[in-house]
């Protein structure tokens, strides 16, 4: 359930959507340098990404992998991803693909990468029904609805022990 953690809110809590802090590339490099850095990276990568191949980097660009810790389209870095849990542009998904599907990456993405039909962790644990009934029981108790509370308590008792 934590994995579903409501991106906007977690992002907001981290100030990502604060418009005053918006342009990450400007935070990463001093403003007066960012243009140059961007230009440099773009030149280095020219021809590697411009064909827009689905496979992304890696194969064609063996002498360059170190540079690819930054996304040429948006200047986003792997550190940014690790820190914020967010990506800068669609291109980032190609560039940081190995990170995203690694065990350190998001578990959801890993699951889906191997099996697009797999369910995300959306309370699919065997405890889900128990948890749901316990919450309903709590509400019934709060409302002094003891008849319903008794019914729910009995239902919970019938669930298989985990």
């Amino acid at each position: 359930m934590k994995d579903l953690a409501l991106c906007r809110d977690c992002a907001r809590a981290r100030g990502v959507f604060d418009p005053r802090k918006l342009s990450l590339s400007h935070n990463v490099f001093p403003a007066e340098l960012s243009g140059e850095v961007e230009e440099f990276i773009r030149r280095m990568l020219d021809g590697v990404l411009s064909e827009g191949d689905e496979e992304g980097i890696g194969e064609k660009s063996s002498p360059l992998p170190d540079l690819l810790t930054k996304c040429p389209t948006c200047n986003y870095s792997l550190e940014n991803y690790r820190e914020l849990g967010m990506l800068g542009c669609p291109e980032c998904y190609k560039i940081f693909a190995s990170e995203l599907t690694s065990p350190q990456g998001s578990s959801n993405l890993e699951t889906m990468a191997h099996d697009p039909g797999a369910a995300p962790d959306f309370g699919d644990s065997p405890d889900m029904e128990r948890k749901r009934l316990e919450t309903l029981l709590q509400i019934a108790v709060n409302e002094e609805n003891y008849e319903e509370a008794a019914r729910l308590r009995d239902l919970i008792k019938t669930l298989p022990k985990t």
């Binding site: 579903l4 959507f17 967010m86 993405l109 959306f122 309370g123 309903l136 409302e143």
Partner: protein
């Protein structure tokens, strides 16, 4: 770039508001399509120049969508602070959007049941409201999936063979669709209290319940948007939706039962009757001033009427309509825009006046039960 008259928006409530006065628990479902464009940074990291380019790609496509008549369209920079707050209060822009200016656009259709944001938290967000308790969820699913597919054909949409539709947060990649539910749970609120209710809802649903009116954490009359995302595709998205159905149905069942108990159980009923009497007296004496207190009064009186504990001078349909309108008419920026009431004190006065007229003149709400001496 600006199209349409803001004042026209101000006098007509958004579509979902028309359903506030309904006895339903699930007032409707908001279906949302969120897409990004290939080759550009996500809006959070973009430059104004790149966001402009994105807008130039998206806006012509939006304006050509079949069957959609955008009657209001504006760049955020063209809206002043009251207009922004007004749209925010009506849930017609997001907080992020309210803070933006150049290259960010908001479009609203003629019926005000559909909005599009360009360069909000995603490059394109389309929101559409589907009223009703019975089938609003499935209608939202169908319509939004079709709209997403249509846009995918018309725009260079960012998709990945493994992750599906891409967004800035990797946990949100997948179907490009998500859903929110507008719920009215006044009886649960009366039985449980606001904070307790919110805590329980959070437990029950793997979602994020938010008070409808973004007005801090005070009372909100049991009006909630439940927000969620679908985060994957294929079978997983279906299963996610199944879970949402269960969660929403749980809440509907809880609220219906709470309403029955307020009516049928002597002690609860007594408590509710006392609350209704108090609300009638307070609205008459002008003691309900703030927006939140007014929402709570409206919500309780509406429920009392639905449960037959209060009778109105008008037909059921006309009463429902008046209640629906009231939730919006008393909102701060609604009063500020429509009546040019710019100080809180003058808005309090206007609200007192509005509630007194509504409850005691237009509706003439009267208890159907014998008056209790306390």
């Amino acid at each position: 770039m600006k199209k349409g008259d803001f004042q026209r928006l101000a006098v007509n409530p958004p579509a979902y508001a028309n359903y506030f006065g309904q006895p339903r628990v699930l007032l409707g479902t908001l279906g949302i399509v969120e897409l990004n464009i290939n080759g550009f940074p996500f809006p959070g990291w973009s430059t104004v120049e790149k966001s402009r380019q994105v807008a130039h790609i998206i806006l012509p496509v939006l304006n050509k969508l079949k069957g959609v008549n955008w009657s209001f369209q504006s760049e955020m920079s063209e809206l002043d602070s009251i207009q922004r707050r007004f749209l925010l209060e009506r849930m017609q822009i997001t907080y992020a959007m309210a803070a933006r200016n150049e290259a960010c656009h908001v479009l609203i259709n003629d019926k005000q049941d559909m909005e599009a944001y360009v360069n909000d938290e995603e490059e394109l967000l389309i929101l559409r409201f589907f009223p009703g308790e019975e089938d609003s969820i499935s209608r939202a699913e169908d319509t939004c999936r079709k709209l997403r597919d249509e846009l995918t054909e018309l725009l260079p949409v960012a998709r990945h063979p493994k992750f599906g539709y891409l967004s800035a947060c990797p946990e949100k990649t997948g179907s490009g669709l998500w859903y929110s539910f507008l719920l009215h749970t006044p009886a649960m609120q009366i039985l449980n209290g606001n904070r307790q209710l919110q805590t329980e809802l959070e437990q029950l649903v793997p979602m994020d319940p938010q008070p409808l009116f973004p007005r801090g954490n005070g009372a909100h009359a049991g009006l909630y948007w439940l927000h969620t995302y679908t985060i994957s595709f294929g079978k997983a998205a279906r299963r996610t939706m199944e879970k949402l159905h269960i969660a929403v149905n749980d809440i509907i069942a809880l609220e219906r039962r709470a309403r029955t108990r307020l009516l049928m159980e002597p002690k609860k009923r007594q408590k509710f009757l006392a609350l209704l009497e108090k609300m009638l007296v307070k609205t008459e004496r002008g003691e309900v001033k703030t927006f939140n207190a007014s929402l709570e009064a409206l919500s309780a009186l509406q429920l009392g009427h639905e449960l037959g504990l209060l009778r109105a001078r008008r037909s059921k349909a006309s009463t429902t309509k008046l209640f629906s309108a009231a939730y919006f008419d008393i909102a701060p920026t609604s009063l500020a825009l429509k009546q040019k009431l710019l100080s809180p004190r003058r808005r309090h006065e206007a609200r007192i006046d509005y509630l007194r007229k509504l409850v005691h003149e237009k509706l003439e709400l009267q208890p159907t039960f014998r008056q209790q001496k306390s």
